[in-house]
Symmetry: C2
Subunit: 530 residues, 2 copies
């Protein structure tokens, strides 16, 4: 007995280092996959278990967040239609040691969806896209993870309700929860985490839990809701969410305010924040981005190519909104704004906001050649340091010779440097991003305001919070997912080995591209699939 | 090896049941305590290690939240002055198996401070009460856990800043974080959890971690901040906190609106919420409470003894505030309000709000005799159900014959039933509270909106979220505190045994009360203390 205790000494520490972690062992061999699919087919219709290689690749690698390697993708995809089915999938994968990847909109960045285990099960929530119930009197809604937030808002608008988080178009609730997203509305309304009331979650071993029902606030035990929000699918699979709502903004106005320099614009923004003016959104676009907006031609209007604030206003009465606009105008004038344009109609508001909305695509259109790549940062800093950070980044970009834009959710101290570069300049681009992150940490900020960590920012996260904090996260992960099956290898480094990995492409085939039907057929017959 | 694995099979599940939990073994014998104190004295001045029995009892048992037994208290108290000292204390306690109880204001309810292990180390943050830095331009502040929130707001007011959470007077930041508190300002500003940017935390084994720096928002890894907020001192000890601030409310007005019935008042409140009117606070007092307010005499004014809404307004300009008041008045009139009184001066606003502020003390003053006890509920429900819940509770109270009040943070769907009862009617009182909790759960609410779980609500929490959710919390607890040393036995049941418990009172001595100096002297000499 003493000897056995020595061999497996009880773990008494509060953290878990990478060194002391057990190595997770995955099985994604054809045999195991065949077994898994056989078991799943007992409960899940065969046409909802998909094994198309192209589809599998698309789940893990996107134009905006390519996986490191083409083979970093799931082996098969299941489309569940209920929490019970998701639990069944998790139980089978847990038993057989198959990695799992929850998937909804696929708009995430930072390699959050890359399946570096070279195989596993993708759980796609495409069919779980129902709005289960709108509770107008409670100002909340219960939804499935496959619901598109923009479509949700169209439905809600009919009842004068509004769900504020606004990440990239195409994002769905499941991924928005996983990534702890935000967007331009976060300044007024707070990020996603403030809009989730309760979740139904399937844990790694298939256990189904409810983190909360639908109270507006709760102090009932550990906040499992917030532990899941932002965990990037590594701690549990969300199968249902109760979301807080507010009323649809009224009397919406948009202002576009041009300044001679970034510090003038940022100082104005700080003043707006400090005076607690009820502004609905507060965004900064730098001179390069404004030039991109003009050149891309998504907007009819031509803007001054200088640091510009985009503000949104809304309120109970137009008179109140006018009063706030007046106060912001005073602040902008005191900071030498060169122009202050305000929408007069709803149409004009929408047109002016269009420039902000299309800013990223406008910047991407400035690629010098089609092979050019795009890399972006997502740091957030205490607002007083935002001007310094943007200025230092602009200097880095100028010196490096690559093209770069700065777009800021300035009210939150969050900004994105977007770098366009020739693939051979990758090191230069990565150095710029790394500089942003290091400066942000020195300024007591964060490397990620809203995009998450994924594969890309794991080392930066350690620089931000220190090894002990990461080892605390690793301890939590090991507790809830001891076999390390849920979206492995994300947020922090983990130890794992895949036995008989099912790699869908041979190295020679890989160069031919994944649409090669021969290879697909070859794999299908290897796996005994029709 | 195979045998040893059989004896200690690897844990592969995502949850941990009570049955499968290892039994925590505590050592609070005089020998162990002497050893611990000897080790602590190497780094911590002897006069900051206190062994007074009266003091020890006060840490765990208060008039508003008495411990089940007089002996449920720590064996000694340490007053650290730095994070490093707290880490040292945790390391010593971790090594020797001594339970730890972090303590700041001591205003919590639900038995959160009761030390049922009958001994252990209380870490009192009385000396860590510094405001480390106010960052006016960033709208944040860095504080130690012993800071009183009301004093903090006095300091902040000089710079026109404001920290909104407002639990019971005397509460301090450490406890406010531990309990995930809120208060009357939560409707406008959100609960405590939304005002914590980042924490320095000492884990059970003494590891020091930083959960975040000071960005306004972050998606950088698991949200350890929110895991700690509301964990009632069971997952880590907060030694420093960065808190978000806003600007001091301007043009504050208070309205007192009387209604013929609870439904009229609640319907008005729902309408205010649904129209997203920027109201600063929205509180409901029932007829019994208004009677208590009149009889207690804390306020000069006499109020109508009927369901009454207390509203606070504030805003950038008085004209804006007036406009909101007008809208609320329209709503109240449409719901047959019998009076609508609005403050004209700052002094009047403060006087009117006084009735809300003293409501709990006014109710307590209605005890029929000094031995009468007080018990309160803290459920929160989706707002459309709040009226039903309050009406059912009032009916229960009326039928039972005990005295009872209903006070609601109605904007959040949260309300407190406060029951005054003769000790022999304890079962009746507890049944009323249990009924509130069960109804709240059926209405998709929570048993605790802001007071937490502690000892009192552990079974109710299981009824609310189900055994699997509790077992998930237990798994997280076991990961971060494997020896189960941090405020044991709170939130959910745990398995533990105390070896040679140091019980400061013999059963016969106990009846004489803890101020008996002979007993104190006796214990002191037993422990070899001067």
């Amino acid at each position: 007995m003493a000897e056995s205790l020595l061999r497996n000494p009880p773990d008494r520490s509060s953290t878990q280092s990478l060194e002391k972690s057990a190595t997770a062992k995955y099985s994604v061999s054809p045999d195991t996959l065949r077994k898994a699919i056989g078991q799943l087919k007992k409960d899940i219709a065969a046409d909802r278990i998909i094994r198309d290689v192209g589809e599998c690749t698309n789940k893990s690698s996107t134009a905006w967040s390519p996986a490191p390697e083409e083979t970093d993708c799931p082996s098969f995809i299941v489309y569940p239609i209920s929490t019970l089915e998701v639990s069944k999938i998790a139980k089978v994968c847990h038993e057989l040691g198959i990695p799992m990847l929850p998937y909804s909109g696929g708009t995430s960045l930072e390699g959050s969806l890359a399946m570096t285990t070279k195989g596993g099960c993708c759980i796609d929530f495409k069919l779980m896209d129902r709005v289960i119930g709108v509770n107008k009197k409670d100002m909340d809604v219960v939804v499935q993870p496959g619901v598109d937030y923009m479509e949700l808002n169209q439905t809600l608008a009919e009842q004068n309700l509004f769900f504020p988080p606004d990440p990239g178009p195409g994002a769905k609730i499941g991924g928005m929860i996983a990534q702890g997203c935000s967007g331009t509305n976060a300044y007024r309304y707070g990020p996603m985490k403030e809009w989730v009331l309760g979740l139904t979650v399937v844990l790694a071993d298939g256990t189904i839990i409810k983190t909360r029902h639908r109270p507006r606030k709760s102090s009932a035990g550990y906040d499992l809701t917030q532990l899941i929000v932002g965990s990037e699918g590594t701690l549990g699979i969300v199968t249902e969410a109760s979301l807080k709502l507010t009323s649809k903004p009224q009397n919406v106005r948009v202002a576009v305010v041009a300044f001679p320099s970034i510090p003038n614009a940022v100082d104005s923004a700080i003043k707006v924040v400090q005076e607690d003016l009820p502004v609905a959104a507060l965004e900064l676009l730098d001179d390069f981005t404004m030039k991109a907006v003009n050149e891309a031609g998504y907007c009819e209007k031509q803007y001054a190519e200088t640091a510009t604030l985009f503000l949104k206003f809304s309120g109970y009465s137009d008179r109140m909104v006018q009063e706030i606009i007046g106060k912001v105008m005073d602040i902008a004038k005191a900071n030498n704004c060169s122009s202050f344009e305000i929408s007069k109609t709803e149409r004009e508001a929408s047109d002016l906001w269009q420039a902000r909305k299309t800013a990223l695509w406008s910047v991407l259109a400035l690629r010098r050649k089609p092979e050019d790549k795009f890399l972006s940062s997502d740091a957030a800093v205490p607002i007083s340091r935002l001007g310094d950070l943007i200025e230092a980044t602009q200097a880095d970009i100028k010196e490096s010779g690559v093209l770069g834009s700065c777009i800021g959710h300035v009210g939150d101290g969050n900004f994105h440097a977007g770098i366009l570069y020739d693939p051979q300049d990758e090191k230069i681009a990565r150095t710029i991003i790394q500089n942003v992150q290091r400066r942000a940490v020195k300024m007591k900020g964060t490397v990620s305001g809203e995009h998450g960590i994924g594969l890309e920012n794991r080392d930066a996260l350690t620089e931000e919070l220190g090894q002990q904090s990461i080892d605390t996260m690793r301890k939590v992960k090991a507790a809830l997912d001891p076999k390390n099956l849920l979206n492995p290898d994300k947020i922090f480094h983990q130890k794992w080995v895949a036995k008989d990995s099912w790699i869908p492409f041979s190295s020679s085939a890989s160069s031919k591209g994944y649409q090669d039907q021969d290879i697909v057929q070859d794999i299908k017959s290897t796996l005994g699939w029709s």
